[in-house]
C-alpha cells in the first residue's frame, strides 16, 4: 500500500472511530439519568454499540499506522487536538429532546455511510461496516420514532426539539466534507462519496422531520474543524472524564 493511501486510510478510520467513541461516551452519560428506565437502557445499549464500533475502528487505525498504538492507546492517550471526531458528536446532552435530535442527525448519516462502506474495497472496513450497519439501522429507527413523537407531541416537547434542531443544524455540514485524503479513498473504491451520503441523508431527514411536523432549518454557516482537530470547548471536559483513570494510573490493567 502506498504511503499516501496508508496515511489517508489511517485518518479515515480515526475519524470514524473517534466520532463513534465520543458520541458513545456522551450517550453513556445518560446512564441512571434518562427520563424512564426503558430509555436509560436504550441509550446505554446504543452507547455500547458505538463504543464497540470505535474499538474495531481504532484497532484498525492503529494497525494501519504501524507504530504499536492499540485501541486503548489511541482512546486514552491523545488530547483534544489529536481527536478527529465530528463536532456534532461532542455537543453536550442538554435535555432528552436535544440528545434525540443529535442522535437522529448522526444516525441518519451513519446508516447511509455504513450501508455503502460494507461494499468497500478495503476488506477490514467492509467487515466492520457490514456488522455496524445492522446495529445503526436499529438506532435510527429508535431516534426517528422519538423525534416524531416529541416533534408532533406537546407544546413543550415540540419547542425543545425545534430548539435543538436550530442549535445543532450548523454541525451537520461537517459530516459531508471531503478533503484530499478522501479523494484518494473514494477513487480507490474504499470510501463512499460524501456527496452521495448528503443526498441520501437529506432525503431521510426531510421525511422524518415532515412526519414530526418540524421545519427543516435552512442551511447557513456550517461549523467545521473537528475532522482536523479543532474542537469546541466541550470535548476537553469529556476527555478529562473519559481518560481520568488511565492518565492517573497509567499502568492500571483490568
Amino acid at each position: 500500500m502506498s504511503t499516501d493511501r496508508q496515511q489517508a486510510l489511517f485518518g479515515y478510520a480515526l475519524r470514524l472511530g473517534d466520532t463513534s467513541l465520543v458520541l458513545g461516551h456522551r450517550l453513556s452519560e445518560w446512564c441512571g439519568h434518562a427520563p424512564e428506565l426503558e430509555e436509560d437502557i436504550a441509550l446505554t445499549n446504543v452507547a455500547l454499540d458505538l463504543v464497540g464500533h470505535a474499538r474495531l475502528l481504532l484497532s484498525y487505525a492503529g494497525e494501519i499506522e504501524g507504530k504499536g498504538r492499540d485501541e486503548d492507546r489511541l482512546a486514552y492517550r491523545r488530547d483534544v487536538f489529536d481527536y478527529r471526531n465530528h463536532l456534532l458528536a461532542e455537543q453536550p446532552n442538554r435535555d432528552f429532546g436535544h440528545t434525540i435530535v443529535r442522535q437522529f442527525l448522526h444516525d441518519s448519516w451513519a446508516v447511509e455511510l455504513y450501508g455503502r462502506l460494507a461494499a468497500s474495497a478495503d476488506p477490514t472496513l467492509a467487515g466492520i461496516a457490514a456488522k455496524a450497519v445492522k446495529e445503526v439501522r436499529y438506532h435510527v429507527r429508535h431516534s426517528a420514532d422519538w423525534l416524531i413523537r416529541l416533534g408532533d407531541g406537546t407544546d413543550v416537547s415540540r419547542a425543545r426539539v425545534a430548539d435543538a434542531l436550530e442549535r445543532l443544524w450548523s454541525y451537520t455540514g461537517e459530516m459531508f466534507e471531503r478533503d484530499a485524503a478522501e479523494d484518494t479513498l473514494v477513487a480507490a473504491g474504499i470510501a463512499p462519496d460524501p456527496a452521495e451520503l448528503r443526498t441520501a441523508w437529506n432525503t431521510r431527514v426531510a421525511a422524518v422531520l415532515e412526519e414530526a411536523t418540524l421545519d427543516r432549518p435552512t442551511d447557513g454557516w456550517m461549523q467545521k474543524g473537528g475532522r482536523r482537530g479543532e474542537h469546541s470547548e466541550h470535548l476537553g471536559y469529556l476527555l478529562a472524564e473519559m481518560q481520568f483513570l488511565p492518565r492517573a494510573y497509567p499502568d492500571a490493567v483490568w
Partner: protein, 173 residues
C-alpha cells in the same frame, strides 16, 4: 450455518480432537443468556487445524459492543484447556452474526425459559416493522412492545395485554 437438522458441529470425518473441541464448546454457556450454549447461539464460527496442526477456534460477537465477548473468549479457552486441548481462540467479525445461526435446539431452549425466539429470516432483520408476537406464557396474540431495547443488546421488551406479564423477545438480527 447450522446443518439441515438445525445443528452446529464437526464436519463429517473430522478428527477426534476437533470433535472433542465441539463437545467442550457445547458446555460453555452464554454469560448473559445462560440457558444457551455458545454453540447453540451460533457464535462459534469454526474449529479447524491451522498450518502447524494446532487447533484454531474462531468465535464471533453477536453485537459489536457486546460486553460479554471478552468473557466468552476466556470461558471458551478455559473449557478447551480443561478438555486437554491446545487451541488458539480468535475473534472474527465478518460475515456478521445473524440470529439465523441460532440452532433449533437453541430456539427451543429460549422458548422454554419464556424468551420468544427470533423468526428465521435474517433478510428481514431489523428493517422490518416490529412483529406481533404471541405471549410465551399464556399464548395470547394481544401483546405490545414496551421497549426496543431490553435487558441485553439482543433482546427487546414486550408485554402481554391478556395476562399482563412482561416478556423478552430475541430480536431478529
Amino acid at each position: 450455518m447450522p446443518d439441515a437438522a438445525g445443528c452446529w458441529g464437526p464436519e463429517p470425518g473430522a478428527d477426534a480432537a476437533v470433535t472433542a473441541a465441539w463437545d467442550a464448546l457445547a458446555t460453555v454457556m452464554d454469560p448473559e443468556i445462560p440457558v444457551l450454549s455458545v454453540v447453540e447461539l451460533g457464535i462459534v464460527r469454526s474449529v479447524a487445524r491451522d498450518a502447524s496442526g494446532r487447533l484454531a477456534v474462531t468465535v464471533t460477537p453477536t453485537y459489536s459492543g457486546c460486553p460479554a465477548t471478552g468473557v466468552i473468549v476466556l470461558e471458551v479457552e478455559t473449557a478447551l484447556a480443561r478438555a486437554g486441548l491446545d487451541a488458539r481462540v480468535s475473534v472474527v467479525i465478518a460475515p456478521p452474526w445473524t440470529t439465523d445461526w441460532i440452532s433449533d435446539s437453541g430456539r427451543a431452549r429460549l422458548a422454554e425459559v419464556g424468551i420468544v425466539p427470533p423468526p428465521k429470516s435474517g433478510k428481514r432483520a431489523l428493517t422490518a416493522p416490529d412483529e406481533t408476537v404471541a405471549c410465551p406464557l399464556c399464548g395470547s396474540a394481544d401483546t405490545m412492545q414496551i421497549s426496543r431495547f431490553g435487558s441485553t443488546a439482543c433482546k427487546a421488551l414486550h408485554r402481554c395485554n391478556a395476562c399482563l406479564e412482561p416478556f423478552d423477545v430475541f430480536k431478529c438480527h
